[in-house]
Symmetry: C2
Subunit: 251 residues, 2 copies
Amino acid sequence: MLKDIIENSENYQPGLSIDCVIFGFHDNQLKVLLIKVDKSQKWSLPGGFIPVDQDIDTAAITVLNSRTGVEGVFLRQFATFGKVNRNEQHFDKKILEYLKIEEEKGKWLLRRFVTIGYYALVDFLKIIPNSMNRNETVEWIDHKEVPELILDHKEILDKALDTLRMELNLMPIGYNLLPEKFTIPELQKLYETILDKKLDRRNFLRKITNIGILSKLDEKKSNVAHKAPNLYSFDKEKYEEVLKIGLNQGW
Amino acid sequence: MLKDIIENSENYQPGLSIDCVIFGFHDNQLKVLLIKVDKSQKWSLPGGFIPVDQDIDTAAITVLNSRTGVEGVFLRQFATFGKVNRNEQHFDKKILEYLKIEEEKGKWLLRRFVTIGYYALVDFLKIIPNSMNRNETVEWIDHKEVPELILDHKEILDKALDTLRMELNLMPIGYNLLPEKFTIPELQKLYETILDKKLDRRNFLRKITNIGILSKLDEKKSNVAHKAPNLYSFDKEKYEEVLKIGLNQGW
DNA sequence: CCTTAATGTGTTATAATGACGCAATGTAAT
DNA sequence: ATTACATTGCGTCATTATAACACATTAAGG
């Protein structure tokens, strides 16, 4: 795959890549989809290169889609990373030897790559982590237990989470991270997990319902310990509306 | 200049550029620093290319500095633009002929360029718009009277303003856009101009002073019609602190 | 059947916001 | 000089939002 790209490098934007921070939510944990190439010691964010005939947003969708199989989810560009030495220890000649790529073609890879960061929010249960070949492992990892990552991928991940936390104040979140029917406590735990902070149950309920994006269903969650919580779903129309205009007007 | 870059294109990141939206404030108008190359009909944002041995942030500082002469001001990356055809009508062979660049070297320019957008807030009065050569005009233009721009520069400018408006709710603004001593009405007009919205005088005063970033000076503005307003300055220390932690906590 | 650990609903004090009123001040017109 | 006028500075009040907390309800399990 990488070999194909390098050998057809004239079809790809040089020195530019895309990395996706794909968030999911499960077992009250914020998960991140990470990849490990078998021969490598470290994990990395799913990424890809940009065909010269594709918009960068389209290329990002391709990356997300190839790893998760989902389409039409929340995907947003958040920052671009371009320190001089960000990949100088990584894309070195060993890879080219390993992939049996001739030196002239290989030069395409041996330069500083600037990478455009996107983050996605996806429904954990709808995703089957998809390894594109047998040499790599794709896995959901709790964001609190992320192992050492290649290059500056930790920095990229942190920035994505910072952005997500900030955008939590500007727009509703949850539609893409929760199943269709969910309970208020579940939604609250999502918020608490993202923010890494305890919230008051009762105040949370009031605030979240006041936004007007929730529909209370005439149905309770079954098979739960203690009192069965009510189920809710998002009112997609109002949700989209609030996504557009934003939550806080501020000034 | 462009000729130099193309002829030494191996020293520059291929297919990648930087564009700066430089905001200033004067006469109660939000100004944008724009450039017009004499032979061109349209204006453009000041931009530049990225030396392979420079961080992208450093390259952005270079662009800003070369046009304004200022250093250490507010400069922030806000988005990266990479539609497939964003520059296909612009960087064409005519330019290469005009610059007398041989075809092989010129290929560097004839591809899709992805551009990283930065926006800067600078003190209008401290800037001397600096044209790098006689063929170009550098000018402050009221953001409401921005003429047609090349490529997708209008889109970039709009996105920068959107970002600025959003960040107005997250952090204090003004330190880089106003002179050292200023009045509350001036600061309010800055906010009103950026937001394109009238604010209540009295509520603005209360809110802005409650942030705790202003120092009331024992001095009034002179030579003004009507009642002389008090002068204020920013408490740099508290300002920086609020910049870090942010204004609204939200959740 | 009682304990336990959740959920659902409400209350109260405090703070933030939005919409105004009015006096003080300096310019400009008469 | 006096007055009209625009603008600043400071304050009020009703409404809304927020934070902290009390209590009843519900289901599971000993």
